[in-house]
Subunit: 362 residues, 4 copies
């Protein structure tokens, strides 16, 4: 195996608290532990296709461990294997992966670290199949990647959502209202589940458990009868009613887009007002969940991922992703890694949530 | 003048951080400084009409200075002078003010402290006209009451909105997007103005300054050309486009209701996407702005208001409201107090905002 | 096995964010899932000896998931097996465990849940040896209990310490100073290690890695030479210098006591000023680390522990403690559980910390 | 009067949240409103003496409104009129003010904005006396400058201290302890007073009200007798006992230095333990109060100060400081401005604090 002398790093997909902490740990570990250079690839795979790269040293990453966003920029649109170009005035898709490989060679990059979600890690996997020495770092605010106990950014998103629920509680109590919070989670309800349990929600609706709105109404009415004249409902954007009415078919891509179609929060608010005769109010957190300073737990996890990713590159674990198997970070094959992890309706956390009185509408 | 022996206190209108701190200061000041009893009236004027009252002592208000909500409950619907009743199966309105006065007499309440916004203070004023010894405490999250420098709760709402802008900044920067934050403010844009300046927004749209959407687009495009590839837009729910298209006529009552009509945030997002060709995302904060623990500034202001309200009762300033005239709290006649205070487009703060590059679309 | 009809619950030892969330989950799970009654024992084992108990229902635990402290009160002094009494004007110790067992019988308590740290769990273990049907819930802000991945409260304490480091960073940078933060951790350095990594500290001193102050000075001077004119030093209160000078022998008991002896933070500050000639400032966080609202992660963990503890009681896992073995909560024998878990100097986290440039003075 | 074409700006004295927001507003207002250039002077007056300056444009100040610290650096030691130099191996002081004036001329700086506390504003005043066109911006975390309602940074410091008190409350309540928080305030007790009122403290000790420790003990004992088995004591570092015992004479300079002499918090803790027989714990916040992101209120105030300071320069208000006279920012002569503002023991806030049951030990 050829000695590694220069590592490239890029961030792909949606913004996520902790990205900068990963980049910082990659740069510092490479330089300090292995005396290896690091090159930052700008705006994710867009920079890899178009050869936009900058050298990174310790100064480049000083003071960023607590900052949200990514100093490298990111996009969630550019796939080198299906790269959008204009051809004869029409949109067309081309494979630009060879161009990427040439760009890596041109810069003498011996190892590539891809920090991204399922989309980016899939691309990383395809590059590996073509011989690129790539290591992945799992990034998804939704925590929906299998093979790792937690993804970084998730704890920060849950914290933001929980703070919102805490605030809704006081006003809900004072006013005898239903307060709805719509949070991210198109295919997996982890943010809704965690923030709902942490915030003491009364109802949690998630994609993995299709709900019966009648049961939700019954639950809220039963609370009223016990003298609890308000209810907090947390809804993942991908939640759907039993029988499928609530499923919004247009949502074909995985992208968080709270402005389209009015949002499920408003639909359910309308229906709950009708069936409970209670005033109902909606908060749509949107991208607030992706932003801000990462929590301490996310900064630690990000630092460990970044440092371990360099270890994995140096040890030749190409085609692997670093994964948290508490308490260790271990390399796992990308093929295993990119499966989606859904909330298990029979799992301990859902059962604990039900034990403390939370309804999932099932 | 008859010696005061028992004071009643109620909270009316929407929830607001700091209500509990006011109640606590009323109770403690009455008991400790004046040896006077305090009676809490439950759920605002509803409790006054229906005689739902509880004695309050120091134990009742221990440990609540930092809690959101109101231990007395509140409603924003019950007006004793126009009280909704069902009569022969139809909704009708009756004057129940005499009943209230009898309830006050029955409980030997010599002074009534009404903590509320323009609606509640108007009712307080009407009671005073009928001889009730009433003192007001100004409460509106919107900061739109004249005669007082600040209302309590406003700083907390601004803080919540500013934290949301801070979070949107990182994701906006990473993704080159327009991020829209819709905040409260139907008739006055104080929350949008303050949080927009504090959060470093690029555009602030408020009811007091009708905007030209073309100018907003120009501003965002000019930023892009200078290399600032993202923009943060803060919109008060009552903002309206020049020429009046954006004015939503249904909003006749003053009540914060983010679920109706899709919201102005979504309307503007749609238009901005069209004119700038940039991805645009919306966050609707809703009642999160009303909840949570009050800021330290709001707790101090609330404590001072509560304590001064008791002083005002004991000194016989009936028909007055306590008001902040920095650095003093002074009594001002309710008649003056309940005028609305709007943002002055020529005022120093708007001018400072423009000086740092914020567009108001005018 | 006798059917369980009534469960007792107590909190022992130092305050810890999440205690209320555990109590709430115990009460709700017992009532809702098993239709079993719950009795709260006041002020830890003191209440068990002296028969101070209150019935707990759902109303008792409404709205407390986010509150710090414990609604049951706690002490860290009362050991029923060695209970301090005054006898003939002298302090003496008596075994009052039989009295406790009679009190449990008197109240028909069939299962006892003890929420506590190593001290309280040791007592729980002794009670179990005498036939009391007891289940433990691990509580220590220091995270130093083996057998469980994490104890609740730890994430909250780390978050508080990390926020302090974040604040010290800006002032350290502006002034070219050494900023020292003394945090809890008499025997285990988990809080210092986690908050130091999360906060981007430059030096972390913990009990598990005796330090050489000369190396700490060298590290800080090397930073200065690279143009980083400030340094952040996080010190666990139990850290000690190689050769043992810094070991403070009086600290025989495990109790957090930042006021005694001036504190190690001040000692090291003094020495660092001498050797680096840089201005040095100290913050002693003290009990701020034990207080406040638990983080969302701690609320979830606490809820799961509380719910699982009831499951363990109902399934007859007496003499066991519920423990987190990510992603599951499982019962483990108390005998195993109460061993101390120390930071492993060769472990991944310390190694990642060193990789990002943090010195441990070794 | 000569037209202004280039403005210099420097930050002097201790770090303070909001400095960056002032600098940003100075730069943006100068460029956008007046088309005037801005030069940043590095490390306060040190950079003015030694000619270390950098041009500032809009890019230099992008994204810093919410950041603590100062991008220009600061020192609190360099006085150009009494500049420390080494002469024949001895420390000597020289007047370097002429050198500063030459440096200003060399860079064609027509207006100098000095952001600082009483020390820096005094120097600014001396420069003005020598003909330098200087405008001041009041900066002190202690809020102890007369002529302005509030200084920026103060609200942030109060918020940090209040959050600490909130956290101490839960653990104090659970444990029946006295919790002491030592905060900044050598000569003025504003931070202690504001945070103590906001946090619901039981005792506040400040320099303006010498205290009788016996009265403090009586107050705490009286609380115990009423069943409130804990107390929170907030102490400004400059508080002193009646009769003067507690006065620490070594504190001759105005500099916040919590590491010297053990601290007043520890002294009082020791005495309170003796007289109340209650466990007592101390937190020393130290420079945590100076750091971190400014509150929204401080960001707004800072933005207004910065923008108004440029207006003042352009309007020729030299020898003046911008000051908040709610709701306006106005120029006031520096001679008036640099008087110290102390807490008035007969003022409304102290009286309100007493009304809600807070003891000042007098």
């Amino acid at each position: 195996m050829k000695a590694i002398k220069r590592i490239g790093v890029l961030t792909g997909g949606g913004d996520c608290p902790g990205l900068n902490a990963v980049i910082r740990a990659v740069v510092k570990t490479a330089i300090r532990r292995y005396n290896v250079e690091v090159v930052g690839i700008i705006n994710g795979f867009h920079g890899l296709v178009n050869d936009v790269m900058v050298p990174l040293n310790e100064e480049s990453v000083a003071g960023i461990v607590h900052r949200g966003g990514t100093i490298l920029g990111t996009t969630n649109r550019d796939n080198p294997f299906r790269y959008a170009v204009e051809k004869d005035g029409e949109l067309a898709f081309e494979d630009r992966s060879e161009q990427c490989i040439q760009n890596l060679r041109k810069h003498n990059i011996d190892g590539l670290i891809v920090i991204g979600g399922d989309g980016s890690l899939n691309i990383a996997h395809q590059f590996h199949a073509k011989g690129v020495p790539v290591v992945g770092v799992p990034k998804t605010i939704d925590n929906d990647l299998s093979s790792t106990d937690y993804t970084f950014g998730f704890d920060s998103a849950v914290t933001t959502a929980t703070e919102a629920i805490d605030k809704l509680h006081t006003t809900a109590e004072s006013h005898h209202r239903i307060m709805i919070l719509e949070v991210m989670g198109r295919y997996a309800g982890w943010i809704a589940l965690y923030s709902g349990v942490a915030g003491g929600a009364d109802v949690i609706l998630i994609p993995e458990i299709p709900f019966d709105l009648g049961k939700v109404c019954d639950h809220i009415r039963a609370r009223n009868e016990r003298g609890r004249k308000f209810s907090i409902v947390v809804i993942a954007e991908g939640a759907s009613e039993k029988g499928g009415e609530m499923v919004v078919q247009q949502r074909v891509e995985k992208s968080h887009d709270p402005i389209r179609l009015g949002g499920i929060g408003q639909e359910i608010a309308h229906k709950l007002e009708l069936c409970t005769q209670m005033e109902t109010r909606v908060t749509v957190l949107g991208h607030v969940q992706r932003g801000g300073s990462p929590t301490s737990a996310d900064r630690i996890l990000s630092t460990r991922y970044g440092s371990s990713a360099v270890d994995a590159v140096m040890a030749g674990y190409f085609g692997h992703m670093v994964a948290l198997r508490t308490p260790k970070i271990v390399p796992v094959p990308l093929t295993e890694a990119i499966e989606m992890k859904k909330v298990n309706p029979q799992g301990q956390l859902v059962q604990a949530a039900k034990a403390v009185g939370i309804s999932f509408g099932d």
